[in-house]
């Protein structure tokens, strides 16, 4: 009963200050929204990987695969079956279509174990006959079916909502035909129940090895880093949002200090008062959490298509572009809102619990930071920075990388108020004019109240500088790399071997060089990869971007006994030029060099094209790069189309392919950029919250100065200047932090996450823009409190002198 009375007295505060309540709820909802939006995306993606892994029961079924990573001969499958092995063949491959890739899964429906039947083919109107006999059927997700509808040469399509986008399920015979891999099987699913008296594997197929079921599969391993990345951003945004909550709760508690004291004096116990406040906070947290989760759904849904494109572009992982509501996700969103609120309110609650009954109330008490607190904060900040540097130098792994990042950011944030205080004190010693002196002294006094918002701003600005520098560095490097890598002026793909034959004959003498681009897919160092063949041609010697190489590296490749490998493979398997590598099928080669290969998640090796054909006689020989004078490209394309009837889709010129690659690249960082902007927005809101909070306490500090002869307009200008100065100083502090962040991202996180390292480039023009943006944010955030100040009647200022305090 007392609690109800107390609660109604406490809640009346919010009725009188709806804007403050709105700010509290907004801050908490935004923090929850960014966090849970990111979580929703992650959950959706993880569910997709699980579905991909469960699609053919890899997560539950053992498998047989060749020890050397090569393809299994179909005759081995028949031999195993006839020796009593109950296995089901699967052929997996990528079908390169105009502008996209299709992951093709060839299955054998009759032997497919029940555990692998994630699809009910029958429900799609399916029948065995059209499925297994030419032209066959392709089952794919409805959106994929839509996307493929116009692609010529594909079997009839059937929609199945159970399939992931970008994946098509078909009969193994159809898959062998479409992929041009007759008689080949990627792996054999082993049925859980095997008959009595089954022959030993070594006696039937000694090249095969049994692999235990694996959960999650390659995709979750590959994409872990990406999701950790998103999570880190979501957390950063949440932390920035909590600054708002912290200051809003702090303000509300301070303003109700008199009420608290009165309630205590009237006999409410500290326990009951704290309980009432806790109850109030929980209600707010849940309300804001609900709004936040709803907003988070919108954020997630808005960002998901970009994330899907990124995952597709970077990892070939298929994630649907639409978000589904998962209970565990929104419950965790509510929980994080609650935990965040309580964390932000902890200090205030503690103070209420220990509120002295008779001490004089001073509303400025909380804003006065003691020297001790600042020293403690400086020590913690320095400690975090040292931890960050130490881990950066000696740590390894993605988790260590993100710890470096986190320690760097939060160490810097903790040091910021200390740094600003020192700068202001230094400036104060330099100025001679009384108003300037007062201005600086007063700014310093404001610091504790503003420092949380400034820390939030620092985090957001550093993240912006860091990520911006990384993305721009990446873009610069990537563009330069594309120029080198895409040396051929025209790329053509024949539709069948006979056409390839005609094409090469036709092109003889018409172009400077015909460079075959043939490859096989297989396992490299235990992970999926590809082996490409390259002709011994000056194009490669002159253009191919090598990071490290043996002398005469291309001569070594030309002998057929050496290979170039990409950076990802080299880093993952710790390979160096001069070392050796086993290619699918047990082909042993020397590593002649390492090249950069951005945007490709898989390992890759380049061997001489003649040697490729010799070792893999079934390799598809359809694709070629053509060297010729760039001006002759349109004419040649027209001529090929005219004389050989090659469809336009099968010819891509250099400019088009570059544009497409850059498109994929741009998509890759859309999400990061969006989160960046959102984080900056939340930081801006934190500024608004803090400045509003402070402005309510500013009058007693401004009134005497006004009384001593400063006009209100001048005071407003000074207040504005103060906000801008603090924002500018924070921006200056954010520069080195952002650059350090970029370094960590480029040299540590990217290497761990993607397998490549990029040189860092600096873009001062971007900083200028961001600096102006920060000032603009500060200006906007100061606008409301300052407007109020400017419109203040003298009577309001006079109250300061008259009020009992």
């Amino acid at each position: 009963m007392t609690l109800t009375v107390a609660l109604s007295a406490l809640l009346s505060h919010w009725r009188r200050r709806p804007a403050q309540l709105a700010l509290l709820i907004l801050g908490l909802s935004l923090a929850t929204a960014l966090w849970s939006g990111v979580q929703a995306i992650n959950a959706e993606a993880r569910a997709s990987y699980d579905r991909a892994a469960a699609l053919l029961g890899q997560d539950r079924l053992a498998q047989l695969a060749r020890r050397d990573g090569g393809a299994i001969a179909q005759t081995d499958f028949v031999a195993l079956s006839r020796a009593g092995w109950l296995v089901s063949p699967v052929l997996e491959g990528t079908l390169r279509l105009e502008g996209s890739r299709l992951r093709l899964l060839g299955i054998e429906p009759l032997s497919l174990p029940a555990q692998a039947e994630t699809l009910d083919l029958g429900r799609g109107g399916g029948d065995l006959l059209p499925f297994i006999t030419p032209p066959g059927l392709l089952y794919a997700a409805p959106e994929t079916v839509k996307a493929l509808a116009a692609v010529p040469g594909l079997p009839p399509l059937r929609a199945s909502p159970n399939l992931l986008p970008g994946t098509a399920l078909t009969d193994i015979g159809t898959a062998q035909r479409l992929l041009g891999r007759p008689g080949e099987i990627s792996r054999l699913l082993v049925l859980p129940e095997q008959p009595m008296g089954r022959a030993n594997l070594e006696n039937v197929a000694p090249d095969l090895a049994l692999k235990a079921p694996e959960a999650g599969g390659d995709l979750s391993r590959l994409t872990d880093s990406f999701h950790l990345n998103l999570t880190a951003f979501g957390f950063l945004a949440f932390a920035v949002g909590l600054f708002i909550v912290y200051s809003a709760i702090g303000l509300a508690f301070e303003q109700r200090r008199v009420t608290f004291r009165t309630l205590r004096a009237l006999g409410l116990s500290a326990r009951a008062l704290t309980a009432a406040l806790l109850l109030e906070l929980i209600v707010f947290a849940l309300a804001a959490g609900l709004i936040g989760v709803a907003l988070g759904y919108l954020v997630g849904a808005a960002l998901l298509p970009g994330v899907s494109a990124t995952l597709e572009g970077l990892y070939g992982a298929s994630v649907p572009g639409t978000l589904s509501l998962r209970p565990q996700w929104w419950v965790s969103g509510l929980a994080i809102a609650l935990i965040g609120t309580l964390a932000a309110a902890m200090q205030s609650l503690w103070r209420v619990w220990h509120l002295p009954l008779l001490a004089p109330g001073s509303p400025r008490a909380w804003a006065r930071a003691s020297e001790h607190a600042l020293i403690g904060q400086a020590a913690a900040g320095l400690g975090l920075l040292i931890l960050s540097i130490g881990l950066g130098l000696w740590g390894s792994g993605l988790i260590a990388g993100f710890t470096v990042l986190g320690a760097l950011l939060f160490g810097a944030a903790l040091l910021l108020p200390v740094l600003l205080a020192l700068v202001l004190a230094g400036l104060q010693r330099l100025v001679r004019r009384p108003v300037a002196e007062w201005f600086l002294a007063d700014s310093r006094q404001q610091l504790p109240g503003l420092s949380l918002a400034l820390m939030a701003l620092l985090l957001a600005l550093s993240a912006n500088i860091g990520v911006g520098t990384m993305v721009s560095s990446f873009r610069l490097t990537f563009t330069g790399w594309l120029d080198q890598r895409l040396a051929s002026e025209l790329y053509v793909t024949a539709r069948n071997p006979a056409e390839a034959e005609r094409l090469t004959t036709f092109l003889q003498g018409k172009v400077d060089a015909i460079l075959p681009i043939w490859h096989i897919e297989g396992s490299l160092e235990g992970a999926p990869g590809a082996v490409y063949g390259a002709a011994d041609h000056a194009t490669y010697r002159d253009h191919w971007p090598l990071l490290a190489a043996l002398p005469d590296s291309w001569d070594r490749v030309a002998t057929g006994r050496a290979a170039m490998i990409n950076e990802q493979l080299a880093r993952r398997a710790r390979l160096k030029p001069g070392g050796s590598l086993t290619l699918p099928g047990g082909w042993q080669v020397e590593i002649a060099g390492i090249y950069s290969d951005y945007g490709n998640p898989e390992g890759q090796a380049i061997v001489n094209s003649g040697a490729l054909v010799a070792h893999y006689p079934t390799v598809e020989r359809l694709r070629f790069g053509l060297r010729l004078a760039p001006g002759g490209v349109p004419a040649l394309m027209a001529e090929i189309a005219d004389q050989l009837k090659l469809p336009a889709d099968n010819m891509v010129d250099q400019a088009t392919i570059k544009r497409r690659s850059l498109d994929v690249f741009e998509q890759t960082f859309t999400v990061t950029a969006a989160l960046n902007v959102l984080t900056l927005g939340v930081a801006g809101l934190a500024m608004v919250a803090s400045l509003t909070t402070l402005s309510a306490m500013r009058l007693p500090q401004l009134a005497p100065v006004w009384a001593m002869g400063l006009t209100r307009r001048r005071l407003v200008r000074l207040e504005l200047a103060r906000t801008l100065m603090l924002a500018a100083l924070t921006f200056l502090a954010a520069l080195p932090v952002g650059l350090a962040l970029a370094y960590v991202l480029l040299a540590i996180i990217n290497v761990e996450a993607f397998g490549w390292r990029l040189p860092m480039h600096i873009f001062p023009a971007d900083w200028l823009r961001l600096g102006l943006l920060a000032l603009l944010a500060a200006l906007l955030s100061a606008l409301i409190p300052l407007r109020r100040l400017a419109r203040l009647a003298p009577a309001d200022l006079l109250k300061v002198f008259a009020h009992e305090r």
Binding site: A441, Q701, W706, A707, G709, P794, A795, L798
Partner: protein, 218 residues
């Protein structure tokens, strides 16, 4: 005349309707003269003081300082008047919390462009503040704070000192000491003083006394 009020009216809007605080009030104060203003709560004492300081404006009538009508000045003009001619001492002391005692003492004088280091040091010594110059206001007692406020005002050598219940927050003994100091210094600098007080005992120590009732001089 240093300060004249001529038929000054001032109304405030309150929850119960318009409230007339000053009702055709007229008074004048010579340079160097000290005047005590007494009256009940709500009799218009503080309003009169605020009008005299140019902190607020009259609805009708004229307030002149040094022959300049304050109502005719713009905001900047009134601010200049406050800076250069007037000095204010409040019941709440209203020191600048971010500045040290020394900086507070010098502040108004520097704003007025009349900073005199020797006078400043002398003032600090006379006010017993010479050992507290590097402290911050919050570290001082009420009497000490009010001495800083007096020092701040007189440091700028204003022609007119306006004091609003300067001892209202102090106990009697401390208050008497502070008032004695203030009166000595005011007389020494030749400034005029208009002091609002509810204490008849304090009012007796000034040259002249006026009692306000319902916005009029009795």
């Amino acid at each position: 005349m240093l300060l004249t009020f001529t038929d000054v009216f001032k109304r405030y809007q309150t929850a119960e309707g318009p409230l007339t605080v000053l009702d055709g009030l007229s008074l004048s104060l010579d340079g160097g003269e000290t005047l005590a203003l007494t009256g009940e709560s709500g009799s218009g004492k503080s309003t009169l003081l605020h009008l005299a300081a140019g902190l607020d404006q009259a609805d009708a009538g004229a307030v002149r300082i040094d022959g300049v009508e304050i109502g005719a000045l713009k905001d900047t003009g009134r601010a200049a008047m406050r800076r250069e001619v007037v000095g204010l001492i409040f019941q709440q002391f209203n020191l600048i919390p971010s500045l040290t005692v020394g900086a507070n003492l010098a502040f108004h004088a520097r704003l007025a462009g009349r900073h005199d280091a020797a006078w400043q040091a002398d003032l600090a010594a006379r006010l017993g503040l010479e050992n507290l110059l590097n402290r911050y206001p919050e570290q001082l007692s009420g009497g000490q704070q009010q001495r800083v406020a007096i020092g701040r005002t007189l440091g700028a050598r204003p022609k007119l000192v306006l004091a609003d219940e300067p001892t209202g927050n102090l106990d009697e003994a401390t208050g008497d000491g502070v008032i004695a100091l203030m009166l000595n210094l005011v007389r020494e600098t030749g400034a005029a003083l208009l002091m609002v007080t509810h204490s008849q005992r304090l009012a007796e120590r000034l040259d002249r006394r006026i009692h306000l009732t319902g916005g009029r001089i009795l």
